[in-house]
Amino acid sequence: MRNWIPEERGRILAAIVAAAGTVFVRDHLALALLWLASILILWCQGELRSAIHFLWRIWLPLASGLAIVWGLIVRGSPEYPDARGIPIGLDYAAITSLRIAALASVFQATLLPLRGFQRVHFWSRLGLPPSAVAGIISIFDLWPEFVRRVDQVVAARCARGLMTDRRLITRVRQIPFAFRTLFLSSLDSSMDRAVRWQSERLPERLVKAAASRGGSGSISGSFAWITLAICWVAFAFRHHLILNP
């Protein structure tokens, strides 16, 4: 399995090639293939749940909206301003939806499977200084704690009797106070943490610990991914290549 996992630069390069191709391609089949391939990668690396969450909560409403607007309301496409008809509108909606799905899943497949020290290794191998790596990693690891703190702040507004009822206007009024307390209560510990990072040389320690673990990828994996990405681009633009070799 490890032979199929790319190294950091291979991962990024393959993603850039695939994304660049997606930007310009206008082929339903190619986009759908790229989308499916990315989901397969996510599934193999145990991240299928995130892909399904995106599809269900974000992509489906978006795709439905596009179909309704361009297919049923406008009945046309901005690419062919003079042409009219439901099929033209639905075709445009389909291409746009597939492009969004493909780009999103490529992004997820590139970065989501990285965990723990793998993530550290990834960012440091891209050339970022240790303090920048530590800053980026801390966002991921502090996010659950931050969400808990948000919950505590909102709960405290209720627990102190400051949110007297649940009407819309009362809930809107909570935002500035909750936000201010959230910021100030987090600011103290953030500043303390930053000072500690510097005195304990934590960023350097972090990068060293990740380096000693080594990356999870291999050169053969990088080669495989980049090759696949190039093959997909060639497939996506096959009509142009055949017509204009």
Binding site: T96, Q108, L187, A194
Partner: protein, 235 residues
């Protein structure tokens, strides 16, 4: 003032003549004390504030969700960090928010990173000239940021999303498209009608927050960003 004192004490401490003097121990001690009171360096402040700004950008959406409100605010952290430590770090905050948000919240967010950078740049330029000092000025800044954000976001919305982003503004775009307007016109008009209001609300939130910063944070951060230009004597 504390930085000047610290440098003074350090040079006294390292002075060979004073090292033989009986006051040297007191000098060493005062060096320690003043070093512990010195304001933060911008690098340390960035280490503390950029991740916090990112978490605020993502987290305020969580507050809105917990309170079940039909709002979407995503640049409060960007504007706040810009005011506190400068537009460059504000831009880093904004771009990182959407890159990390792409993994934690919504994978299409990274495409709007340029919008976040634009917000930071415009907020920084206006903050450097003291435009966050009063409520009317802050409203003007909010409108300006909204206009710039609408223009920068438009190409992404047009090309990638086909004009419909899935938020409430999509209804306005649909209406304009149905009335016969072209996609470019529809998206820009939608953006110009929604973004200034949204960004003004966010600027007002930041204005209010900065006004109520505790003194010890204000002292530490004042030399680093645009706080001095944007606080009155009574604040």
């Amino acid at each position: 003032m504390v930085q000047i004192l610290t440098r003074f004490f350090v040079s006294c401490r390292d002075s060979r003549w004073l090292q033989r003097h009986r006051f040297h121990r007191i000098i060493c001690f005062m060096t320690t004390v003043s070093a512990s009171l010195a304001p933060m360096s911008v690098k340390t402040a960035a280490l503390a504030l950029v991740p916090l700004g990112v978490l605020l950008n993502l987290g305020i959406g969580t507050i809105v969700h917990l309170l079940k409100l039909p709002l979407f605010v995503d640049a409060v952290g960007t504007i706040l960090i810009t005011l506190l430590i400068g537009w460059r770090w504000g831009a880093v905050t904004g771009v990182l928010s959407f890159l990390v948000g792409g993994l934690l919240v919504n994978p299409v967010l990274p495409w709007f990173s340029a919008t976040q950078a634009t917000i930071a740049i415009v907020a920084g330029i206006m903050a450097s000239k003291g435009w966050f000092r009063s409520l009317p000025r802050t409203i003007v800044v909010g409108i300006l940021i909204g206009i710039c954000a609408a223009i920068v976001s438009a190409p992404v919305i047009i090309w990638l999303f086909g004009g419909i982003t899935g938020s409430g503004s999509g209804f306005i775009t649909s209406f304009l498209l149905a009335s016969g307007k072209k996609i470019v016109e529809s998206v820009i008009l939608t953006g110009l009608s929604c973004e200034p209001i949204d960004k003004t609300l966010q600027c007002l939130l930041v204005f209010w927050l900065v006004k109520s910063l505790p003194e010890r944070f204000r002292t530490k951060l004042a030399p680093l960003g645009y706080l001095r230009q944007n606080t009155t004597a009574n604040a």
